[in-house]
Structure formats: structure tokens, C-alpha cells
Amino acid sequence: MINVEPAAPLQEDRIPGHIPMSVVLATGIFGGFFSGLLGIGGGTAMVPMLVFLGGLTQRDAHATSLAAMILIATAAVVVYGDAGKINLIAAGALLVGSLAGARIGADLLSKASEGKLKAAFGTFLLVAAVLMVVNP
């Protein structure tokens, strides 16, 4: 009578570590809001939420956040693009470097240990906090 629920393995192949829907909702919306508000990718908010609330490894959280960011930043660009605020020359110059850098960074993420990734991301958050307050 009580054991009506299907066994866990049925859910497991959908989302690794089957993250509760409430966490998915909160992470997506919160990450998106800060992305649009601050003009950042939103990973700063999403990665800690995926690790601490969703139980993902640091490595998977970083990679999943990048995938989410493609859609989130596109939406934010459309809003800012309407406002005619994009400088295409600066964007092109930055992209020349960042597309090459992204491949190197992705390979580093694939190889780094969990402890090192946590240390790197923790340090990044402290730097980010300073930049956020200093930034005029």
C-alpha cells in the first residue's frame, strides 16, 4: 500500500543526481535575473546553487552553467540590443581572444581535480565581490 513509488533508478537516467524541480526553477530564474541585471553570464549565481542545492560536482556545475548561459545571455543581449547599446568593434576584438581561450579553459576544466576547482571558484567569487563593489 505504501510502496507505490517507482524505484529510484527510473528517475536517475533523466537528470544525473535527479535535482529537485524547485532547485532547477530557483537556479534558472535567479541566475537569469542577475545575468540581466548585472550584465554577466549568471554562472556566478548558478554554479554555487547547482553545487550546494543541486548536489552536482563542481566540474559538472561549471559545464552545466555554461550550457545554460548560452540561452540566458542571448535573451539579455536581445533586450540590450534593442537599446542600441552594443559596441561591435569591442565585442569582435574580445571574441578573437575569448573563443581561443574558451577551448583552453574547457580542457583545463576537464582535467582539474574537484578540490582545485572549488578553490579556484571560491577565489573567483571573492575577486568578483571586490570588482562588483569597486565597479562604478
Partner: protein
Amino acid sequence: MDPALVIFLALFGGLTGMLSALLGVGGGIFMVPALALIAGFDQQEAQATSLLVIVPTAAVATWTLRANAIGDIRLGSRLGLLGILGAVAGAAAALALSGELLRYAFALLLVVVGVRLLIDSRSSTARLQTPEAGHPYPE
């Protein structure tokens, strides 16, 4: 635009692109202050330009990581679709108000989470050194 500035931005982009893919963030936290302080952009122009750079950078990183079977693209897409709702609200809010207080509140949150992660990183390094099954107390 000054050619020296264009070259600087390309080199700076290389650094932020690498950090972006390694850390799973967009890199806007580095690009926005650089564009505002060094290139002299106003805040909204800096943010809009930075967001445009983030899209292809994150796409290349995701593509590379997928080849290495890291991350969950389906979960990422779900987060992204939900995030669009949040991003439109956040971007509209940024265009309408200064968002000063929210920035300070978010900075404080980052310090708390950053310290927590640094503490966790030490314990997860320790765990790697002594596999959790054995605990072969040397004494």
C-alpha cells in the same frame, strides 16, 4: 577605436575566455569593469557588449566539454529557458534603475559562498588523499 585598445581587448578576451570556460561563468565580471574603466564605456554599453561576447564563448566551451562528456546539456537547457524569464526581468530592471543596493547585497553573498567553497576545497583535497573506504590510521 584606438588600435592599441583593440589589441588589448583581444588579449584580454583570451584571458577572460579561458577563465570563463574553466570556472563556468560568462566572464562578464571581468569584461564589464575593463570596458568601463579602460575603454571608457558607460555601464550599459559595457554590459551589452560583454553579454554579446559571452554567447559564442559559452557555446564553444560547451561544445568542447560535450566532447569530453562533462556537464548535463539537458539540465543546462532547462536552466537556460527558465533563466530567460529571469534575464529579461533583470535586464529591464538594470535599464530602469541603478541597482546599487542589489549589487552590494550580491557582493556580500559572493563573499560568504566564496569562503565556504575555499573551506570545502581543503576538505575535498584531504578526502582525495585518504580514500573514504580505508582510513588506514598510520599511528
